[in-house]
């Protein structure tokens, strides 16, 4: 059978959603940001809430997220996306509002805004991409960098005595009463991408039912920051990131899950 017989519109199984623009993503080859963008847009597509969704773009690698997501977006000052999202949500309580932030944005400069937005229980969704490094500025040490991990500002590996411990901001946030749903997922294999999509679906569903803040962490790779090929970095992530940042739901329906 010829391939041309298969490639017909009626046989279409999967194509990039039109909620993503046709612009070439500014991310490095193999970066998890692209996948995370796409599944987020797929969720909005499947829920049919494109006209009612407002996203808040952060500062970091994903600073140009508003160029790639074909929905209403707002840029925020570094780390202040949850504060901006709070304002938008309070003006339009019926709109879906989400922030899309990296670890330098959410867990470093924006820790105060994140924690207070979560503590107030703002009815928004926060997407947190954790790759353990400051990607855009050239691979410096982030608060989430693992122990012993080499970065340009910790060339001998992160030393816990002088540089402190990697922060588990997701577990920290799960303890706040205003937060309804907290989960940690990944996007490096098809199986995890499907799971993450379900988690984002649930997060938006919680926002629809006005139950409180939903927080989805996505553990991602940064192959150029980690100085590896994309597939090597995915394997390294499984071996090193997942033991410290275990995947799965952390808080469901306002109750922390004790393993």
């Amino acid at each position: 059978m010829d391939i041309k017989d298969i490639i017909k519109p009626e046989n279409l199984v999967y194509k990039k959603t039109d909620h993503m623009t046709d612009k070439v993503l500014s991310y490095c080859p193999g970066c998890g940001h692209g996948t995370a963008h796409r599944i987020l847009m797929e969720v909005i597509d499947e829920m049919g809430v494109r006209a009612d969704t407002i996203g808040v773009a952060p500062v970091g690698c994903s600073v140009l997220a508003y160029d790639f997501m074909n929905i209403d977006m707002q840029g925020a000052a570094h780390g202040r996306a949850p504060a901006v999202a709070t304002g938008i949500k309070r003006c339009w309580p019926d709109k879906f509002v989400f922030t899309y932030q990296g670890d330098g944005d959410l867990a470093a400069i924006g820790t105060a805004e994140t924690i207070h937005a979560c503590n107030r229980g703002e009815n928004i969704t926060i997407l947190f991409i954790n790759n353990g490094i400051y990607g855009m500025t050239g691979g410096q040490m982030a608060p989430t960098t693992l122990e012993g991990m080499r970065t340009t500002t910790s060339p001998y590996g992160r030393d816990l005595e002088s540089m402190g411990n990697p922060i588990k901001i997701t577990e920290l946030i799960a303890n706040l009463p205003g937060v309804h749903y907290v989960t940690r997922q990944a996007v490096h294999t098809p199986r995890y991408v499907r799971r993450t999509k379900k988690a984002i679906f649930k997060a938006f569903d919680i926002q629809k039912n006005k139950k409180g803040l939903s927080f989805v962490e996505i553990v991602s790779n940064c192959n150029s920051g980690w100085k590896m090929t994309p597939n090597q970095s995915n394997i390294w992530m499984e071996d090193n990131m997942f033991p410290y940042y275990p995947l799965g739901d952390i808080k469901v329906d306002g109750k922390i899950i004790n393993e």
Partner: protein
């Protein structure tokens, strides 16, 4: 018995050659071309098109969303 056969179409200009799809494919259909696109990246292509089942795993993990998947039933 009806067998399912699939095919992928790669947007060659936008493929960044990260090879994430190569390991995601359960039937090892995808390979990388020797030629490069205008950005200098090798492009993913179907090396063994007869094994493709149209499961869309490659398209789901593709960070740049360049893969479009088609699938149809084949009468054996």
């Amino acid at each position: 018995m009806a067998k399912v056969i699939g095919a992928i179409v790669v947007d060659e200009e936008h493929c960044k050659g990260c090879e994430v799809c190569v390991v995601a494919c359960p039937t090892q259909v995808i390979g990388m071309t020797d030629r490069v696109n205008s950005k200098g990246y090798h492009i993913a292509y179907m090396e063994t098109p007869e094994s493709c089942t149209g499961c869309a795993n490659c398209a789901i993990v593709c960070p740049d969303g360049v893969i479009t998947v088609y699938k149809m039933k084949k009468e054996a």
